[in-house]
């Protein structure tokens, strides 16, 4: 330790030389590994002595379980155990509402519900043994339509009726009239998250009745709470570590293999590996809610909205999952980013015997946007107005109040975003039929047109989406940041439980630490439950909320270091600044090195950080400050439609989005591209086809997602209007592109074909026969 401060000039370039701060786009630590196929996903987990678990699922949509005979399965050589509902020590699980048994208890409520588990020393043996479990079912009448579920005579999925939530918004005049009235009915099919890494995990029992679970998930602590509930164990006995996640998009918010693997591990005393194959994955996670929407807009002859009425029914399937929150979003945000003085919304979430639906990117706003954007186009046409101009006329601005009466207290650039996409250059005209290029035509190399029947259409859509959890939810994150000298170099270790699902959060955490502490070397600790909850990696919230927590923890570390320096050097705390490896006075002189101040000690701070509170809405009027932040985006789609064959080629899908502050500009663009593709997928092809409750296409052979030949290159304009209430001014990025892209594509197809097209995905026969 030096006795006196060394008087040398400060080196401000020290911090300037840091690579990978906020606003940079440093390489992701997992990037090269993933590109080279060396990243360890959950499905790659391995432990000595591990054995394999598999699930037996219900072949029925709704049935009573008369009996289960596990004898023949148990007698199979290589099988360790077979478990049924009787072996589950604790209670039900569920994200918001614990209504789902870990294994079906007395009744199965959907096609694919888990009924029994097998552990064996080879996955193949386990699968064969599972087929030998004899379950006798007695089929029950099922309800497989969301609207029918609300009829009094409908079969009941649970005691207590099929209505899960009814959200009402009543604002302004209850009997509004307007000179121009337009209305529509819209249907949205069931979309799947279609993440590429199937559900997977490894449960390792300890010798004290506890368990370590390594699992690919979105929210370690919500998982932990539910696992504890189901196993009847305290949290210290159920420790979770995040395994490599191959995409999530909401589909990993609910439990999959979690409790099953733990049950098998506790029973056998062996590490249990579980991995779903692709088919099982389609049964092993929730999907996006199919929705049935009825909308009516009233406006004056100049296109100014006077009132809106909406009735939305979300089919939640057999278990609640996050349906109530999806209803919250669909209801409060389901009229889009428009000023509407008189509003009546009735938004329902219902139980049916369809596969359970829950979180998926865009969460309730996606379905509604198809309806309100289609109706805006209809209104524009009716009053003879430009489709962009009518949106700009009615679009929200900062200082406006939305339909729940909440003040929009940061940027709301609806008109500007639309202007930006409208002003982007249009793609080149199509080549003539003599010099066509198959790859740029609908159908591609399948050679279905050389230009015949092809009509171009342009469509616009705009959206806004809440960021973070809403309606009074205690939405916080926790970060632990540690600063020490290792090998003569200042090193920061950042530890959060926030799930990295491929979006790049670990890079963001590093960037924040570098910026706040001026230290180049930032080590990201594995994500686990040894630190407090970070909340879910969903709702576009982690850069905001976990980013906020990391920032706050860095600030706490900085304060501690400076306090130490001030005591040690006997200098006023207020006169000291931490600048990387040095403590600098406010006059810019280096007064001590970090090494001097820390020695071999570490400064280690944990901070729990929350965003501004939100509030429940009034149950009768729906009024209230439900959300913490809004994110806005607009898309313009240009499509060529083979109007005779109903095939579509999206030629351009351009967008503008306000992100508040681009912490990592490359990652922002990545989110926008991926989100736009996913929204386009719902407009064109992505649907889990469910007939009478049965899933008919549980594979990537028939659940189609866009390929590189379906997705056009994008023009992307990123605005950075800082939100003064958010750390660094950030605004959630991940979801808005998924919401506005699909409706823009659908609008473009309507424009090209002149057809109403009130259902997505739009299939070829809808265009040729509709």
């Amino acid at each position: 330790m030096t006795s006196a401060p060394t008087k040398v000039p400060a080196a401000p370039s020290e911090t300037a030389a840091l690579r990978g701060r906020i606003g940079d786009s440093p390489l992701r630590p997992d990037g090269t590994l993933k590109v080279q196929g060396e990243f360890a996903f959950g499905s790659d987990l391995w432990a000595d002595e591990m054995i394999w678990g598999v699930t037996l699922r219900s072949p029925h949509v709704h049935a009573r379980i008369v009996s289960i005979d596990v004898g023949p399965a148990l007698a199979t050589s290589g099988v360790y155990t077979v478990l049924t509902a009787e072996d589950v020590p604790g209670g039900n699980v569920g994200l918001d509402h614990a209504d789902q048994p870990v294994l079906a208890t007395g009744v199965v409520r959907y096609h694919g519900e888990p009924v029994a588990l097998v552990a064996a020393d080879h996955p193949e043996i386990a699968r064969q043994a599972a087929k030998k479990i004899r379950v006798v079912y007695e089929e029950l009448p099922a309800v497989t339509d969301g609207r029918r579920a609300l009829e009094p005579a409908a079969p009941q999925v649970h005691d207590g009726g099929n209505l899960l939530r009814h959200l009402k918004i009543r604002r302004g005049n209850p009997d509004p009239v307007a000179p121009v009235v337009v209305s529509l009915d819209f249907e949205v099919g069931m979309q799947d998250q279609a993440f590429l890494g199937p559900e997977s995990g490894l449960a390792v029992p300890d010798d004290a009745g506890g368990i370590d679970l390594y699992v690919a998930t979105q929210w370690l602590h919500a998982d932990q709470r539910q696992i504890c509930q189901a196993l009847g164990l305290p949290p210290e006995k159920v420790r979770l570590t995040l395994a490599g996640v191959g995409g999530a998009f909401g589909g990993r918010e609910d439990l999959s293999i979690h409790v099953h693997a733990c049950l098998l591990a506790l029973r056998t005393g062996k590490p249990i590996k579980m991995v779903y194959n692709r088919e099982e994955s389609f049964f092993g996670h929730v999907h996006r809610h199919p929705a049935s929407l009825r909308y009516e807009f009233g406006a004056d002859h100049d296109g100014l909205l006077h009132y809106a009425k909406a009735e939305i029914v979300f089919d939640g399937g057999a278990y609640a999952s996050s349906t109530a929150a999806v209803v919250g979003n669909g209801g409060t945000l389901g009229l889009g980013p428009y000023n509407i003085p008189n509003v009546q919304v009735d938004c329902y979430g219902v139980y049916t015997n369809n596969p359970p639906c829950g979180a998926m990117r865009g969460f309730g706003c996606v379905q509604a946007a198809f309806a309100h954007e289609a109706l805006m186009d209809e209104l524009a046409d009716r009053v003879g107005m430009d489709r962009v101009a009518i949106r700009q006329l009615n679009g929200m601005r900062e200082g406006d109040r939305n339909i729940t009466g909440q003040l929009i207290d940061s940027a709301a650039p609806v008109a500007e975003l639309l202007q930006l996409v409208q002003d982007m250059p249009l793609p080149a005209e199509r080549l003539s039929e003599d010099e066509f290029d198959l790859l740029s035509l609908p159908g591609g190399v399948s050679n279905t047109t050389h230009g015949e029947g092809v009509v171009r259409g342009i469509g616009y859509a705009v959206t806004y989406k809440n960021v973070g959890f809403s309606e009074g939810f205690d939405d916080y994150s926790t970060a632990r940041v540690r600063l020490e000298i290792t090998a003569d170099e200042p090193t920061v270790t950042v530890h959060t439980a926030a799930a990295e699902v491929g979006q790049g959060l670990i890079t963001v955490e590093q960037q924040i630490c570098r910026t706040e502490l001026g230290v180049q070397r930032v080590v990201v600790h594995p994500r686990d439950t040894q630190v407090g909850s970070a909340g879910s990696t969903s709702a576009s919230r982690q850069t905001y909320v976990t980013g906020g927590a990391v920032k706050a923890a860095c600030e706490a570390v900085r304060a501690k270091v400076l306090e130490r320096a001030s005591t040690m050097l006997d200098l006023e705390l207020s006169e000291l600044v931490l600048d990387g490896a040095q403590i600098v006075s406010i006059t810019g002189d280096v007064v001590a090195s970090l090494q001097d101040v820390l020695g071999t000690d570490a400064v280690d701070e944990t901070v729990k950080w929350s965003h501004r509170p939100t509030y429940p809405i009034d149950p009768e009027t729906g009024q209230g400050d439900a959300h913490v932040q809004y994110a806005f985006s607009a898309h313009r789609a240009v499509v060529d439609v083979d109007t005779e064959l109903g095939l579509v080629k999206v030629i351009a899908l351009d967008t503008a989005q306000d992100v508040g502050k681009a912490i990592n500009p490359d990652a922002v663009v990545g989110q926008i591209q991926g989100g736009s593709a996913q929204g386009m997928g719902l407009a064109l092809m992505e649907e889990i086809v469910v007939t009478d409750g049965r899933v008919r296409n549980p594979s990537f052979t028939d659940y189609l997602i866009p390929t590189i030949l379906d997705m056009p290159p994008m023009k992307i304009e990123v605005l950075e209007y800082a939100d003064p209430h958010a750390p660094y001014g950030v605004r959630g990025v991940g979801e808005p592109p998924t919401i506005s892209s699909g409706p823009a594509v659908a609008a473009a197809i309507r424009r090209a074909t002149g057809k109403a097209l009130r259902r997505v995905p739009i299939r070829p026969e809808h265009i040729t026969e509709g």
Partner: protein
């Protein structure tokens, strides 16, 4: 499950005779999917990838003799001119990875009504050569498809090759899928004009229990072209003629509704593809004069 790996064609035929239940595997792009989904648990797999003859093509009495193990990628790269319809169909198969492994013989072995090679081969009036220790036989492709995913192979037989006459006129292939790549056909159509014989060949995919030809459409068009002297004059194709041809093709199909598409859309799209492909083929024919 045992894995038989014959080094020569005669060894392969002997193996198949000894184990008639052995499942042949070429590119494996169908077989491995079946195994992974556990739809099938054969006692033996018979690997055909070590047999050179299967992977070669040659000329046989003026026809192309395409070894059953030739991949789509090679058809595209090497046979674009000799087998244009099959090459067009090959370009629409799966992804580059699938085209690198998947074989035309495998498509026949699977005999799926949705296989993309079938309409092109039917239109070209191809024959298939089947072999066993008992000997070799050739039969028209139309006799090869016997039902949904069923074919005329005897338990001890293997597909040796496909025989296709190089075209005397233009060929076309079109396929409907609900995305622009990597998709199983909702319906497909193959067309070949045979000006030498003043004949027309067609093939329909995904719109009947088996791939099939639209004989009435072929006869209708061949006669109409002949009656109007169009084979000789190469005058423009009357639009009504193309339309009527499309209607005949539509009538030849017996499609069903399934998760990929409706029966009525399949019928409709066949009529459109037939009409359009005829106009392209006819334009080619006129230009070739």
């Amino acid at each position: 499950m045992d894995f038989l790996q014959p080094r020569s064609w005669s060894e392969a035929l002997e193996a198949k005779a000894a184990h008639p239940d052995a499942v042949p595997i070429a590119g494996g792009t169908d077989v491995m999917v079946e195994l992974n989904f556990d739809h099938h648990r054969p006692a033996f797999l018979l690997d055909l990838t070590r047999i050179e003859e299967l992977e070669t093509w040659s000329f046989d009495n003026g026809r192309v003799r395409l070894g059953a193990g030739v991949t789509y990628s090679r058809v595209i790269d090497e046979l674009g001119r000799l087998l244009p319809g099959l090459a067009m169909a090959s370009r629409t198969v799966g992804s580059p990875q699938i085209r690198n492994r998947g074989t035309v013989g495998g498509n026949l072995g699977a005999a799926s009504p949705a296989g993309d090679a079938h309409p092109a081969l039917l239109a070209a009036e191809a024959d298939v050569e089947l072999a066993s220790v008992r000997g070799t036989r050739r039969l028209p492709l139309t006799e090869f498809y016997t039902g949904v995913k069923r074919n005329a192979l005897a338990p001890d037989e293997l597909i040796a090759a496909i025989l296709i006459t190089p075209p005397s006129g233009p060929q076309q292939f079109c396929k409907i899928g609900t995305r622009n790549a990597m998709v199983i056909s909702v319906s497909a159509f193959g067309l070949a004009l045979h000006p030498e014989r003043k004949a027309v060949g067609t093939g329909i995919g995904s719109a009947a229990p088996t791939p099939r030809r639209a004989y009435e459409a072929e006869n209708f068009l061949a006669q109409a072209l002949d009656a109007a002297g169009l084979w000789e004059t190469r005058a423009t194709m009357p639009p009504e003629l193309a339309r009527e041809f499309g209607n005949y093709v539509r009538s030849a199909a017996s499609p069903i509704d399934d998760v990929r598409g409706t029966a009525s859309y399949r019928s409709h799209s066949l009529a459109v593809m037939a009409r359009r492909s005829l106009s392209w083929a006819w334009d080619d024919y006129r230009r070739a004069a």
